[in-house]
Symmetry: C2
Subunit: 427 residues, 2 copies
Amino acid sequence: MNLSQMSKAELEAFKNEAQAKLDEYKAMGLSLNMARGKPSAEQLDLTQGLLTTVVSSKDCIADDGTDCRNYGGVDGLAQAKDLFAPMLNVERDQLILGGSSSLNMMYDTIAKFMLFGVSKDSTPWKDQGRLKWLCPCPGYDRHFLVTETFGFEMINIPMKNDGPDMDMIEKLVSEDESIKGVWCVPMYGNPTGITFSDQVVKRFAAMKTKADDFRIFWDNAYCIHHLSDTPDKLLDLLEECKKAGNPNRAIEFASTSKVTFAGAGVAMMASSKENAEYIRSHMTVQTIGPDKINQLRHVKFFGSFEGIKEHMKKHQAMLAPKFAAVLGGLEKEIAPLGIGSWTKPNGGYFISFDSLDGCAKRIVELCKQTGVVLTGAGATFPYKKDPRDRNIRIAPSYPPVEELKLAVEVFTTAVKLASAEKLLNNI
Amino acid sequence: MNLSQMSKAELEAFKNEAQAKLDEYKAMGLSLNMARGKPSAEQLDLTQGLLTTVVSSKDCIADDGTDCRNYGGVDGLAQAKDLFAPMLNVERDQLILGGSSSLNMMYDTIAKFMLFGVSKDSTPWKDQGRLKWLCPCPGYDRHFLVTETFGFEMINIPMKNDGPDMDMIEKLVSEDESIKGVWCVPMYGNPTGITFSDQVVKRFAAMKTKADDFRIFWDNAYCIHHLSDTPDKLLDLLEECKKAGNPNRAIEFASTSKVTFAGAGVAMMASSKENAEYIRSHMTVQTIGPDKINQLRHVKFFGSFEGIKEHMKKHQAMLAPKFAAVLGGLEKEIAPLGIGSWTKPNGGYFISFDSLDGCAKRIVELCKQTGVVLTGAGATFPYKKDPRDRNIRIAPSYPPVEELKLAVEVFTTAVKLASAEKLLNNI
């Protein structure tokens, strides 16, 4: 029965039942976590062999003669670029390999644009007064924290089923020169799990922007992280930008954090050759270069991009049952009650749950009291402010399935209690 | 016989002889390199065992339970901090571990100070108009390139035998609020090889600065890189700053680039707890953290700081003969002629050679024509401008001793030729 159709007495009874059940869970002294998009230990074990691919002195020499132990190669090992270039559908000289953190590359790119401008001849963003940034949301909290720290005024852009509200974006960027960029996780987005439609990608590539130094930060973190055998397909933004006559508009980011090791993978970025050359010219000042031995490990472990894709099926096999456990629990416990909606991602690391308005904080709090940690309510919005207080990011990857099932039971019970409370308040 | 005492005819003969000898070397089709402070392949082999210290899943778990393969630890692995803290004589929470490049940490620190100021309450450097930076020189070209790129006006500070000209520095920083920092390689400096005296360190710590956001960038790159069994000793600047009531003045940098792998080591920085906390707060926005597996490799390979010190003796054994080969060649061929002076370092990676004024570019050019690559003349000065065109940085570490001896023969012959040309021009 839909909760909104219950009488006050029915709601009271429903609430008391949920409360009693939560109290039972509480008594169990649980300590469960669905907060972080971390790979599980079993997933990390999948690439344990990476660590023995480069051992001897001879192992350390790349195909082109580079001794990976020594200095050189500010933007990464050529052989590793050849491994990863097909993943982002780019040529070698469009690609820059970094250390282990793609967030670091995004932050550094914005820092460079702030200090030196987006190209040799452009005005540094720091010298252009108060600037703005578009934030499709719910989105990735670490993105928003970066642009908040750099002082951008962040503008919420609602997410639809096929990507951000492009009517709104097109209007804003065509009118306001102070809007300098937009965050996107275009495939299996964090946290919604949706993939941008071809139409959305084309509109991003072709739209008129008042600022000629507007840049799309295209965080393609989950580009090969499928959860089914019929994966989503994402149009190539860099290619579309080129076609549309805006070749320098987009910068794409990715990493192997959720392919090999979250703490010791390889981060990368790609853009037009012109943009890559410009970024590289600044990296030459910034660093002596990334860890080439680790890049060579990736080359030797996978052999080719085909090898990476094969490997991702093992991750899929581990993750799919976890997503199914969460989705099954939501379907069974919440769907009949009409007190929430959620995404059913075909890939990525998250499920996005929307409760009744004004319930998210309460649900997270109730879960916490019961020993289940969730991402903080509001975290998926700029300034951590969810205007409707309804979005909760669920991260199923880290806990074992049995723990996850228990955590989902707690979660759905908390949703029931908070929803009943809310509806009773509104009566 | 001192070249300056030769008659014109004697000089002509001397010059022709040097030219003939250079022509002979030229005919040999040499390809030698004394340009880069790179460890040799043999040095890199010393730490080959590092790569097998962390292999199994169990190996990846640090003492505190951290799975180094997964996310977490924005400023490095605690266990690795404990390994390196004694190297910089600091406590764990004063230390921040990074990726493989300490230059990257220096650049990022200046970028943060530009964008956000040196502390929570200070004005960002970018908002303080045109700024200046002190550059003791000859110095490290990559340092100067960083401050040039950030737009600082760089001021040359002459180097003395015990450090930079402190009278000049004290006067400048006491009068000019736009001077925000100074580069130092205080131990076995690049390229002079000298170590700052206690007095110089104390004066750096205690001097009055007009700018309260003045910062010393203390690049202690060669702190354990001794070439003899009676190493230099450097006073602890962080400690002296604290004693002098300027606890936040200095930031120290180091790395294992020339301890383990130049391309895959561990970089680090240390400062007051307050500074470290501030830097850490920005790193939390910037990155998901450095490669902890590589940090754990260092811990397991060395065991303790004592282990690192023992290991450095092996580097010493390989490098000392190379330095001796260069110094022996200079002593034999150049000393009697009075056409050059040079440092005799007790550690580090470089020998600094001063020719007669106005000869450095010519010497480097002559060597290049003869197949011996040297660091570009002028590179050791801001804007690559050596006001006296006399300083050349010699890097003996990379070539095998036999090649090095040949390269030094070419070099000393080029010095002879260029000097004779110069003196003849002056007649």
